[in-house]
Symmetry: C2
Subunit: 241 residues, 2 copies
């Protein structure tokens, strides 16, 4: 059986998708593969700006992003909003809803996107029969917890430019993990959305981009990014002036 080249977070039950290798769980026997197919995972299309789910929606499924990308945002009663993450191909979205059986945030497509729907009750049934699936699901949830810790560190103790450096380096790594260029890519989100994610105003984000460009760390033309020195960007993240 062919092994996926993607990091383990990216692999999940999705056996009859076209991109078979994309989200297949590792190390399953033929017998286990068959069970896997009990997961009727429909593929759905979402246009840019459309909601995959909304805060308050009942938990039906988790979603594996098949193409495109999403943002998740958390809304406070007082109108305050916070982007809590940007998700791309191969990532799983919807884990927040297991807690209360209802989604705690909105998920919105940043571009034309496709998702594999993974009905959560079936996922639980199946993961009782397939230990590797069970463990994989636990890992995905735990990874999300660890990711959050990193964001807390960023929001709680980094300066604006460090935050932006962290953001760009994170994107770079995730593109690289997908076989895309780690240094040249298109941003799918606005300055406002980046600001919301990083706890900054959009003007501050824009200024930080400009400053990085002046310093020769990156080349930026609105949403086209080229990282000129990953190393120096890393230094910036670590707080060197």
């Amino acid at each position: 059986m062919q092994r996926s080249v993607l990091p383990s977070q990216l692999k999940i039950a999705c056996s009859n998708c076209n991109l078979r290798e994309l989200c297949l769980p590792v190390d399953l026997s033929v017998d286990e593969m068959k069970k896997m197919e009990l997961l009727s995972h429909a593929k759905h299309y979402y246009a840019r700006g459309s909601y995959l789910y909304r805060s308050g929606d009942k938990l039906q499924s988790l979603y594996a992003i098949h193409s495109g990308s999403f943002k998740t945002q958390f809304l406070h009663e007082d109108g305050r909003e916070q982007v809590t993450g940007f998700q791309m191909v191969g990532e799983i979205i919807g884990l927040d809803a297991i807690s209360t059986d209802r989604h705690s945030c909105d998920a919105i497509a940043l571009e034309s996107s496709e998702v594999c729907e993974l009905p959560f009750n079936k996922l639980e049934v199946l993961s009782r029969e397939l230990p590797s699936l069970q463990h994989h699901l636990h890992k995905i949830m735990s990874s999300e917890i660890v990711r959050s810790q990193g964001i807390m560190l960023l929001l709680g103790s980094m300066r604006a430019e460090q935050r932006l450096a962290a953001f760009l380096l994170n994107l770079s790594q995730r593109f690289a993990a997908r076989g895309l260029s780690p240094t040249m890519f298109q941003l799918r989100m606005s300055r406002h959305e980046i600001g919301s994610y990083l706890g900054l105003q959009l003007e501050t984000v824009s200024r930080a981009f400009s400053h990085f460009q002046e310093d020769g760390l990156i080349s930026v033309k609105v949403r086209s990014i080229e990282i000129l020195s990953l190393q120096r960007l890393q230094l910036c993240l670590n707080g060197s002036p």
Copy 2:
């Protein structure tokens, strides 16, 4: 069978602990209860300041806090540190380690504390046999994800006093859920630790406490807190001047 009065997050496999009702999973049959006892969950004591686990330690167990309280902190290479949470009786700690099989943060006792050790591999085996345990575990992990979203909102978009109000109201609710006073309690953490958690300097935390006291929202004497008006504190959290 007696039902626990605690919120569901607090209940988890811990059938032979003294405080039997504290962390027992809901709705198990006698048969299921027996299986539960396969979880050999030893109880351990931790003195104030001692480590329950350290970043990099291999995942062995999750821990249910039986008495006392802990902080978790995330350390960056450059020495930067961020308190990512304060955990109290009945809460589960250690979920971060499932992702990579190693803990991503330190857990340190804030006072003399006892924990129930829940060996993680046994927990996985058992949760394949007990759907209610399985779902409960999923809920606990998802709750931690939702909690993180709340902290991101706080760190990303709230002012110092709003953050402190959110912190105090959160403690208040958690004490109330344990049958303790929601308005009078002792802080177990220093101003520095609160600041690290809230993304503020300790001086700013201290000033915010003083200001709340001047305004008659709370009465504070170092670590003894009395909330004089939950309602007005809530208003402050929502951003009214």
